[in-house]
C-alpha cells in the first residue's frame, strides 16, 4: 500500500473508533457542563455497557439461531445496554457524587476511583478475568473503494453514532431540559437563580451520558470482537482526552475531539507503530492545549478580580 492509501484506510478506521470515543466523551462533557465534575468512573460505565450487551446475547441466544437473524436483535441489544448503563449512571450520581456536592473539589474524584474498582471487580466476578468473545451480531461484508476497504460494520457504527448525536443535538437545542442544561453550562449561579432544578439536571446529564457510553460499549464489542473488564480504563482515558481536546463542557467539542483522537491514533498506528499510537494522541493533545489552553472549541474564561 502506498502512503496515500494508508492515509485513507487509517482515516476510515480512525473515524470508526473515533465515533465510539465521541459517544463516551459526550458523557464526560455533559456531566462537566452541568456539575463541573470529572466523572472518572465513566470509562467503567462504558465497559459495563459492553458486558450488558454480551449478557443480553447470552440470554437471547437460546431463542434465536443463525447470525443473519441476530441482526434484528441489534436494536434490542442497544436499548438493553443503554437502559442498564443509564440506571448505573443514575445510581452512581445519587450515591457517590450527590452527597459530595458541597465537598472539596477532589473528594468526588476519590469516590469515582472507588466506583471504578467496584464496577471492574463486579464484572470480573460475574464474567471472569479473561477476554470475552463478543458475538457477531451481523455478517461482516467488506466493500472495496479503490485500494481501501470499508466494512458494513463500520458503516453501521458510524450511522448509529451519528443518529445518537443528532438526537442529542436536537434534545439540547430544542427541549426545555436541553435549554436548562445549556444555561447551567453557561452560568451555574444565574441558572440556579432562574429556578432551574440543578439536582434534577445533573441526574439527567448522568443518565444521558451513561446511555451514550453504553451504546459505545456495545459498538466497541461489535467492532473488536472481544471485551475485557480492563477495557474501560484506556477507552475512558482517551475519551476524556477527547473531551478536553474539544473543550470540556462543550458538546460539539466532544464530538470533534473524539473523532480527532480516533483519527490521530489510527494515523499514528499506520505510519509509525501501533505501540506508539497512544503517545501520538497524547502528544498532540499536549501541543494543542499549549497553544489553545481551553481546548479547540472551549470558550476562553476571562478571569475577573
Amino acid at each position: 500500500m502506498s502512503a496515500g492509501d494508508i492515509f485513507f484506510q487509517q482515516l476510515i478506521n480512525g473515524l470508526t473508533i473515533g465515533m465510539i470515543y465521541a459517544l463516551i466523551a459526550l458523557g464526560y462533557t455533559m456531566v462537566y457542563g452541568v456539575a463541573r465534575l470529572i466523572n472518572f468512573a465513566h470509562g467503567e460505565v462504558f465497559m459495563v455497557g459492553a458486558y450488558l450487551g454480551l449478557l443480553f446475547f447470552l440470554f437471547a441466544s437460546d431463542l434465536i439461531s443463525g447470525a443473519g437473524k441476530l441482526f434484528f436483535f441489534v436494536p434490542i441489544v442497544f436499548i438493553f445496554a443503554m437502559l442498564g448503563t443509564s440506571a448505573i449512571g443514575f445510581i452512581i450520581e445519587r450515591f457517590a457524587y450527590r452527597p459530595l456536592r458541597e465537598a472539596p473539589r477532589l473528594a468526588p474524584l476519590i469516590t469515582a476511583i472507588g466506583i471504578s474498582f467496584l464496577l471492574q471487580n463486579l464484572i470480573m466476578f460475574i464474567f471472569g478475568p479473561t477476554d470475552k468473545h463478543f458475538p457477531h451480531l451481523m455478517v461482516v461484508r467488506k466493500f472495496s473503494l479503490g485500494t481501501v476497504t470499508l466494512t458494513n460494520l463500520q458503516i453501521f457504527i458510524a450511522l448509529v453514532a451519528v443518529i445518537l448525536m443528532v438526537v442529542l443535538h436536537i434534545f439540547i437545542r430544542n427541549t426545555r431540559t436541553g435549554k436548562a442544561m445549556r444555561a447551567l453550562a453557561d452560568d451555574l449561579q444565574a441558572a440556579r437563580l432562574m429556578g432551574i432544578n440543578v439536582d434534577r439536571l445533573i441526574s439527567i446529564a448522568f443518565i444521558i451520558g451513561s446511555a451514550l457510553a453504553g451504546a459505545g460499549g456495545v459498538m466497541f464489542g461489535m467492532y473488536y470482537g472481544t471485551i475485557n473488564f480492563h477495557d474501560g480504563y484506556l477507552a475512558g482515558l482517551k475519551a476524556f482526552t477527547a473531551a478536553v481536546l474539544g473543550g470540556i463542557g462543550n458538546i460539539p467539542g466532544a464530538m470533534i475531539g473524539g473523532l480527532l483522537i480516533g483519527i490521530l491514533e489510527a494515523l499514528g498506528a499506520g505510519y509509525w507503530s501501533s505501540e506508539w499510537k497512544n503517545v501520538f494522541a497524547f502528544f498532540v493533545l499536549i501541543l494543542i492545549l499549549l497553544f489553545r489552553p481551553s481546548g479547540l472549541l472551549g470558550s476562553r474564561i476571562v478571569k475577573k478580580v
Binding site: L100, R105, L106, A107, T111, L237, V244, I248, E275, V279
Partner: protein, 323 residues
C-alpha cells in the same frame, strides 16, 4: 483544652514514631516488614505529591512518571556505570527534579482540569515509552540485576532482607518531614499557599507564580526521584507495570483521603490505603471490591480528608458553586 491540644499535636505523633521504630524488632515476620517498606515508599510518594496538590493546589494525575524517572535513573546508571546506590540516590533525585520542572512548563500557561490532563498525558507517554524503548529500558520485561544498597563502614549488604530497607525508608521519611515542615512555613511555602488560594491575587501581591509552580513540581519530583531509587534498589528489578496510571491515582487518593496539605494526614492516608488491601486479603477475590467500597465510604463521611484542614474545605466549597 490547651493541654489536650498539646497531647494531640506532640505526643501522638511521637508515640506513633516510637511504635514504628520498634515494630520490626517486635514483629519479625519478614512479610509484614516487607509490606511496611512498600507502604513507606508510598508515604514518600504521598509526601511529594502533597507539595504539588496539597500545598500548591495543582492537580497532578501523572505522578507515577516522576517515580518511574527516579527508579529507571538509578537502574540505568547502576547497570551501565556501576554507580553505587548512595550516589544513585542523588542522581535520581536530580533527574526527578529536572523532569518535574520540565512538566511544570505547561503549568505556566494552563490551569485546573486542563493541566491535570497534561500531567496525565505525560504520565502515559512515559509509561508507553518505557514499554517500547526496548534497547534502553528493556521494554515490558524491565531491567534486571540492579544492585541492592550496601554500606562500606561497617561492611553491610542490604541484599533481599527487609529490615535495612525499613529503616532506610523510615529515615528518609523523617528527613523529608523535617524539611517539608520548614518549607511549608518558609516564604516559598507561603507562596504555594497563596497560589493555591487565588493565583491572580497572588501575582498581584508580587508573588512570582511561575517560580512557585516550578519549585512545587521540582520538590515533588525530587521526592519521587528518591522514592523511585529506593524502590529500584530494594526490588533489584523494575518493569513499567509498577508505574502505570493506577499508581498515580492511588497516590493521589492517599493525599486526598488523608487531607490535602496536612503532612500527618497524608502519611496516615498513605498507610491506610497501602495496608488496607493486606488486611482485606482474607476476603480474597472480594478484596478490591471492598477496597473500592471503603474508599467511597471514607470519602462520604469525611470529604475534607481524615486530617484535612478546614480552610481547604472553605476554599473548594466556593469554587464549586461559582465560575
Amino acid at each position: 483544652m490547651k493541654f489536650k491540644q498539646a497531647v494531640l499535636n506532640k505526643l501522638v505523633p511521637f508515640l506513633f514514631t516510637v511504635v514504628i521504630f520498634i515494630f520490626p524488632l517486635v514483629d519479625r515476620n519478614p512479610y509484614h516488614i516487607d509490606v511496611m517498606v512498600s507502604a513507606g515508599i508510598f508515604v514518600l510518594l504521598a509526601l511529594g505529591l502533597n507539595v504539588i496538590v496539597g500545598n500548591a493546589g495543582i492537580l497532578n494525575l501523572g505522578y507515577a512518571a516522576f517515580f518511574a524517572v527516579g527508579a529507571y535513573t538509578y537502574a540505568l546508571v547502576n547497570l551501565h556505570w556501576h554507580i553505587p546506590f548512595w550516589i544513585g540516590l542523588w542522581i535520581s533525585a536530580l533527574t526527578g527534579t529536572i523532569f518535574g520542572m520540565l512538566l511544570a512548563f505547561p503549568a505556566l500557561r494552563l490551569g485546573g482540569d486542563y493541566l491535570a490532563i497534561v500531567t496525565l498525558g505525560a504520565g502515559e507517554i512515559v509509561r508507553i515509552a518505557l514499554n517500547n524503548l526496548d534497547t534502553i529500558t528493556g521494554g515490558p520485561n524491565g531491567l534486571l540485576g540492579i544492585d541492592h544498597p550496601s554500606l562500606l563502614i561497617p561492611k553491610y549488604q542490604f541484599g533481599v532482607k527487609s529490615e535495612p530497607y525499613y529503616f532506610l525508608v523510615l529515615f528518609l521519611i523523617l528527613g523529608f518531614i523535617f524539611v517539608l515542615r520548614r518549607l511549608e512555613s518558609s516564604r516559598l511555602g507561603l507562596a504555594w499557599n497563596a497560589l493555591r488560594e487565588d493565583e491572580l491575587a497572588a501575582s498581584c501581591m508580587g508573588i512570582n507564580t511561575a517560580w512557585a509552580k516550578l519549585s512545587a513540581f521540582a520538590v515533588g519530583g525530587f521526592i519521587a526521584g528518591v522514592a523511585g531509587c529506593v524502590f529500584a534498589g530494594k526490588q533489584g528489578t523494575i518493569s513499567p507495570d509498577s508505574f502505570d496510571f493506577v499508581v498515580s491515582v492511588m497516590v493521589l487518593a492517599m493525599v486526598v483521603l488523608g487531607g490535602l496539605g496536612s503532612i500527618r494526614g497524608v502519611i496516615l492516608g498513605a498507610l491506610i490505603l497501602s495496608l488496607l488491601p493486606e488486611f482485606l486479603r482474607r476476603f480474597e477475590i472480594y478484596r478490591m471490591f471492598l477496597f473500592g467500597l471503603a474508599m467511597i465510604l471514607m470519602m462520604l463521611f469525611r470529604p475534607q480528608g481524615i486530617l484535612g484542614e478546614v480552610h481547604h474545605r472553605e476554599e473548594f466549597k466556593k469554587r464549586n458553586k461559582s465560575r
